[in-house]
C-alpha cells in the first residue's frame, strides 16, 4: 500500500515538474525568438507574456475538434496520445538529482532511447491516418529522419558510456564530478547536439513539418487539443533532450555549493542547451530531404564510429590522447562539412562579382 502511494505521489510530482518546465520552455522559445529578431515577443499576457502558454492552451481548447473525411478515425485519435505519452513516460528513468529519480535503472540510457524511439511511430501514424498527401509525406520524412539520426546519436553516447563504464545515468553523472564529458568528449557532444536537433524535428532538420513545403507536415489536419498534444510533446521533448544533454555531457547536478543546489545547476545547464536549440532554430534555414539523409548516413554515422574507436584508444592510453583525438575529430569534421557544402553548392563562387558591378563608389 505504501509503495503504491509512494509511486503515485512520485508520478504526480514528476508530471508537475515536467509540465511546469514544458510551459517555461514554450515561453522561453517565444521570448528568445522575439529578442533574436529584434522584437519583444509576447508582452500582453501577464508580466512579459508569462501567461502566453496558458492563453494558447485556452485558445486550443476552444477550437473545433476536426476529423477530415476519409481519415482513419481510430489512428487519428490514437496518434496524438501516442506522441505525448512517451515524452512523459521517459521520465520514469530520468534522474533529477542523486536522490530524486523515478526508478534508477542499471540500463537507464537504454530504457530512455527505447521509449524515445516510439515518437516516430506516432508521427507516421498521424501522417497516415489524416488522409492528406502533405501529412503522409511529412510522416514518411519524420520516420526516415528519426530512424537515421537515432543511430549516430546512440553511437555518440556510447563513448560516454565507455568512459563511465556504466549505462546508469547517476553513475555517468558521478563520473563527471571532476571534469565534464563535454571537455573530454567535445566531438561526441557536437554529434549528440546535431542528432538531437534532428530528433526534435527542429531547424535545420524540421523537414517533417516544413511549413513552406508541406503546409504543416504530419500535423496538417490536426486541430484543437489533438494539435496541442503534438505541440506539448514537441516542447516536452525539447526539455527532455536538453536535460539528457546536461546529464550526459555537462555534469548533470554536479556543481559548487550544497547538494540541494544540484537541482538548480541541472536546470541552469538544461536551459542553456534549450537556448542553444532555440538560437539555432531562428538563425538557420532548412536542409533538403536528400541532403539531410546524406548528412546522416555518409557523415554522421562514420564520424560516430570514428568517435567510438578514438575514445577506446584514449581509454587504453591516457586522458591527453583522449582529448587530443577528440580535437582532431572536431577539426576534421568541421573541415569535411564545409568541403561538402562547397562541392555541392559551388561555394567558391562569391557574390563579389555581382556586387562589384554595382559598386557604390562609382558615380555618374
Amino acid at each position: 500500500m505504501m509503495l503504491v502511494l509512494k509511486t503515485l505521489l512520485g508520478v504526480v510530482v514528476i508530471a508537475v515538474v515536467v509540465l511546469v518546465n514544458t510551459v517555461v520552455v514554450m515561453w522561453c522559445e517565444r521570448k528568445w525568438a522575439g529578442h533574436l529578431q529584434s522584437r519583444l515577443g509576447p508582452m500582453r499576457t501577464g508580466w512579459h507574456g508569462m501567461l502566453q502558454p496558458f492563453a494558447d492552451a485556452l485558445k486550443m481548447l476552444g477550437k473545433e475538434d476536426f476529423t477530415p473525411a476519409g481519415a482513419d478515425r481510430l489512428l487519428f485519435g490514437v496518434a496524438p496520445v501516442l506522441a505525448y505519452a512517451p515524452s512523459i513516460f521517459i521520465y520514469c528513468a530520468t534522474p533529477w538529482m542523486a536522490q530524486f529519480v523515478g526508478y534508477s535503472f542499471d540500463v537507464g540510457i537504454f530504457m530512455i532511447f527505447a521509449v524515445a524511439a516510439l515518437f516516430p511511430v506516432s508521427i507516421l501514424l498521424a501522417g497516415w491516418a489524416a488522409n492528406n498527401k502533405y501529412a503522409l509525406m511529412g510522416g514518411f520524412r519524420a520516420a526516415a529522419q528519426q530512424i537515421s539520426y537515432e543511430v549516430p546519436m546512440i553511437m555518440a553516447v556510447l563513448g560516454v558510456i565507455m568512459l563511465a563504464g556504466s549505462m546508469k545515468l547517476s553513475t555517468i553523472v558521478d563520473a563527471q564530478a571532476h571534469v565534464w564529458n563535454a571537455v573530454t568528449q567535445p566531438f561526441a557532444f557536437l554529434l549528440f547536439f546535431i542528432c538531437m536537433l534532428a530528433e526534435l524535428n527542429r531547424t535545420p532538420f524540421d523537414l517533417p513539418e516544413a511549413e513552406s513545403e508541406l503546409v504543416a507536415g504530419y500535423m496538417t489536419e490536426f486541430s484543437s487539443m489533438r494539435f496541442a498534444m503534438f505541440f506539448l510533446a514537441e516542447y516536452t521533448n525539447l526539455f527532455t533532450w536538453s536535460l539528457f544533454t546536461s546529464l550526459l555531457f555537462l555534469g548533470g547536478w554536479g556543481g559548487p555549493g550544497p547538494a540541494f543546489l544540484g537541482f538548480v545547476w541541472l536546470l541552469l545547464k538544461t536551459y542553456a542547451i534549450v537556448f542553444m536549440v532555440v538560437w539555432v532554430r531562428w538563425a538557420l534555414p532548412r536542409l533538403r530531404v536528400d541532403q539531410l539523409m546524406e548528412f546522416g548516413w555518409k557523415v554522421l554515422i562514420p564520424a560516430a564510429l570514428l568517435n567510438m574507436f578514438f575514445t577506446a584508444l584514449g581509454i587504453v592510453t591516457n586522458v591527453f590522447v583522449l582529448v587530443g583525438l577528440q580535437v582532431v575529430l572536431l577539426v576534421g569534421f568541421v573541415w569535411l562539412v564545409s568541403r561538402i557544402g562547397k562541392r555541392a553548392g559551388h561555394g567558391a563562387r562569391e557574390v563579389a562579382a555581382a556586387r562589384a558591378s554595382a559598386s557604390p563608389e562609382v558615380t555618374p
Partner: protein, 569 residues
C-alpha cells in the same frame, strides 16, 4: 516626351519579308509597325526572329476593332536586343473567323499569352497544344474583353458552387477544347502533367504516381498561386502553373475610367511596386496626348521607382528566407521596408496604393525636410543589406538549397520571354533603365549586376546587388533633383488623347513591365493591356521544375519573385 521620340522610326527592318504590308506608323505610336494577314503571320515572325534578330517576344495581346469593322486585332511586339529596336505587328481578324496560327513553336513563352487572349477575346490559336482558359474558370461563358460582352451583376449561385466543388477533385488539368486541329498541333514545350500521371510508376519500387495540388491555399505560394504537380515520391515529373484566383478585371475596368483613374487602378495590379505600373501607363498616355513632363517630375519618378524597387526586393527577401525555412530574415528586411513605406506615406499619402504619378508630372512635391531625412536613411541602408547577407548569403545550408537549383539557360530565358533579375541572373544583359532610358534614367549611370549560372542563388545575388544599386540611384536622384515645376501646368483633369496606340515599358523589380494603350479619342482608353513580367517569369517554371524535389519547388518559385496581383490582374 524627350527620350524616345529622338529615335527615328526605322521601317527598313521589314524590307524583303513577304506577307508584310502597310509598313509604317499605323497609329502605333513611334514604334515601327506593320500589318500582316493570319496566313503570313508565322512566316513574318520567323523571318523577324531568325533573320533579323528580333529574338524577344515582348507583347502578345489583342484589342477590339472599331465598330464599323467588327473583329479583333492581334498585336505582337518583338524586340531586338542588340540595338534595342522594338517592332509592332498587327493582324486583323474579322468577326466571322477569329482564328490565327499559334506561335508557340517560335516562342514557347507565347503559350500562356495566347491562352489569355483566347480566354478574354475568344481568338482561337490553331495548333496550340494547350488552349484553355487561364484567368477565368473553365466553364465561364463569353469573352469579357469583347466590347459586346454584357457583364451581369450578381454573386455565385448554387450551380456555380456545385461546379467549383465538383471540378477541384484529383482529375488533373481539364482537357483542351476541340477547337484546335490535332494534326497541326505544336508539341507542348514542357512535360505534360496528364501524360506523366497516366504512365505507371517505378516498376522496382512499385510506386504510384500522384497528383498534388500545391496551392492556392498553401503557405509558400505567394498568395494564390496554384501548381499542378505530377509526383513520384518527392520527385516532380511535370508541373503546370494555374492562376486566375486573383483576377480583378483591371484591364476591363480601365476601359470605363479616365486615365487618371486608371493610375489608381493599376496600383492594384503589381501591389508591391505600384509606381512602375503607374509610370508605364502614364508614359503611354503622355505620348498619346503629347504632354511634356518637367525635369523635376522625371527625377521624382526615378526616385520613387527606385524606392519602390527597394520595398519590392525587401518583400522578396522576406519570402526567400521563409521559403527555405529561415524566418528571421523576414523581420530584418521588413524593418527597412517599413521605414521606406513611412516615407511613401509622407510623400504620397499611401503606403502601397500611391496614385502619385499624374499625366504631366506627379501629384505633389517632396514635403519640407523629407529629402534630407530620406537621404540620411538611404545612407544607412547599405549596412542593413550587409545584415541581410550575413543571415543568408554565406550560410552553408542556404547555399546548398539554392546553388545549382533551377538553372535557367539564356536560351530558355529568350524562349519564355523572361526578363528582369531572373534574366540577368542567367547572364542575359538587359535592363530597360540602361537600354531604353525612360523618365530621367538617361542622366544616371545604371550598373546592371549579372549572374553566371542562372540558378536560384544567382537570382538571389542579383537582387541583393540591385538593392544596393537602387539605394545608390535614389540617393543620386535626391542629390541631382532639379528645381522647377513638379507637374506641367494646364494639363486637364481628364485628358483626351487622339486615336492611336502606344506601348511603353519600364524596368519593374520583376522585369519588363509594359503597358499597351489604345485610344479612340475619348477620355477613356479603348484598350489597356499590362505586359506583366512576373507572368512570363512564372510560366518558365513549367520547364524548370520537372526532375526536382518538392523542397526545390519552393526554392525555385521564391526566386521567381511572384506577385499574383500582377500576374492575374
Amino acid at each position: 516626351m524627350t527620350t524616345r521620340s529622338a529615335i527615328a522610326v526605322d521601317t527598313r527592318t521589314f524590307e524583303g519579308i513577304s506577307g508584310v504590308f502597310e509598313v509604317g506608323v499605323l497609329g502605333m505610336g513611334d514604334l515601327p509597325s506593320a500589318h500582316t494577314m493570319p496566313r503570313h503571320l508565322i512566316d513574318v515572325l520567323t523571318a523577324l526572329k531568325q533573320e533579323r534578330g528580333f529574338t524577344h517576344l515582348s507583347l502578345l495581346t489583342a484589342a477590339e476593332r472599331p465598330a464599323e469593322t467588327p473583329g479583333v486585332k492581334m498585336v505582337y511586339a518583338v524586340t531586338r536586343r542588340t540595338d534595342h529596336t522594338t517592332l509592332m505587328l498587327s493582324v486583323d481578324l474579322p468577326e466571322e473567323s477569329l482564328r490565327v496560327p499559334t506561335i508557340v513553336a517560335l516562342w514557347p513563352g507565347a503559350l500562356p499569352l495566347e491562352r489569355e487572349v483566347y480566354d478574354l477575346f475568344g481568338v482561337v490559336f490553331e495548333g496550340s497544344p494547350n488552349l484553355r482558359r487561364i484567368v477565368l474558370r473553365d466553364d465561364f461563358a463569353g469573352h469579357p474583353l469583347r466590347k459586346g460582352f454584357v457583364m451581369t451583376p450578381g454573386g455565385v449561385d448554387a450551380e456555380d458552387l456545385a461546379w467549383a466543388l465538383a471540378s477541384h477533385g484529383d482529375d488533373g488539368p481539364a482537357p483542351q477544347p476541340e477547337n484546335s486541329d490535332p494534326k497541326r498541333t505544336v508539341p507542348l514545350p514542357y512535360p505534360s502533367v496528364a501524360e506523366q500521371l497516366a504512365r505507371p510508376g517505378d516498376p522496382i519500387l512499385h510506386s504510384q504516381r500522384q497528383l498534388l495540388h500545391m496551392g492556392p491555399q498553401h503557405p509558400s505560394m505567394h498568395g494564390v498561386l496554384h501548381l499542378w504537380l505530377a509526383l513520384e515520391g518527392e520527385m516532380v515529373l511535370a508541373s503546370e502553373v494555374t492562376h486566375g484566383y486573383l483576377h480583378r478585371c483591371i484591364e476591363k475596368l480601365a476601359e470605363t475610367r479616365s486615365y487618371r483613374a486608371c493610375t489608381a487602378l493599376v496600383d492594384r495590379a503589381d501591389y508591391v511596386s505600384g509606381f512602375h505600373t503607374e509610370l508605364a501607363l502614364l508614359m503611354g498616355a503622355e505620348e498619346l496626348a503629347q504632354i511634356e513632363v518637367p525635369p523635376k517630375a522625371q527625377y521624382l519618378r526615378v526616385l520613387m521607382s527606385e524606392l519602390v524597387r527597394l520595398t519590392s526586393h525587401t518583400t522578396w527577401f522576406a519570402a526567400c528566407g521563409i521559403d527555405v525555412g529561415a524566418f528571421t530574415p523576414m523581420l530584418f528586411s521588413f524593418r527597412d521596408r517599413e521605414a521606406i513605406l513611412d516615407f511613401f506615406e509622407e510623400i504620397t499619402g499611401g503606403r502601397m496604393m500611391f496614385n502619385y504619378f499624374r499625366p504631366g508630372g506627379v501629384k505633389d512635391d517632396l514635403p519640407a525636410g523629407c529629402a534630407d531625412r530620406l537621404h540620411a536613411y538611404l545612407k544607412t541602408l547599405s549596412a542593413s543589406i550587409d545584415g541581410y547577407e550575413a543571415l543568408l548569403t554565406t550560410n552553408e545550408i542556404f547555399r546548398n538549397r539554392t546553388c545549382g537549383i533551377g538553372v535557367i539557360s539564356p536560351q530558355t530565358i529568350l524562349d519564355f520571354g523572361v526578363t528582369g533579375p531572373m534574366a540577368r541572373a542567367s547572364g542575359v544583359d538587359i535592363d530597360l533603365r540602361r537600354d531604353e532610358p525612360y523618365a530621367a534614367y538617361a542622366d544616371f549611370d545604371v550598373h546592371v549586376p549579372l549572374g553566371e549560372i542562372g540558378d536560384s542563388f544567382d537570382r538571389y545575388a542579383v537582387r541583393i546587388a540591385e538593392m544596393r544599386e537602387s539605394a545608390r540611384l535614389a540617393m543620386l536622384a535626391l542629390e541631382g533633383m532639379p528645381e522647377g515645376d513638379f507637374v506641367t501646368p494646364g494639363v486637364p483633369r481628364a485628358i483626351k488623347p487622339p486615336a492611336g496606340c502606344a506601348y511603353r515599358r519600364v524596368e519593374s523589380p520583376r522585369g519588363e513591365l509594359g503597358v499597351y494603350l489604345e485610344s479612340d479619342g475619348t477620355a477613356q482608353p479603348w484598350r489597356m493591356k499590362i505586359r506583366s513580367p512576373a507572368f512570363s517569369n512564372l510560366h518558365v517554371t513549367n520547364a524548370v521544375l520537372p526532375g526536382r524535389r518538392i523542397s526545390d519547388i519552393i526554392a525555385i518559385v521564391s526566386s521567381v519573385d511572384v506577385v499574383m496581383g500582377e500576374i492575374d490582374r
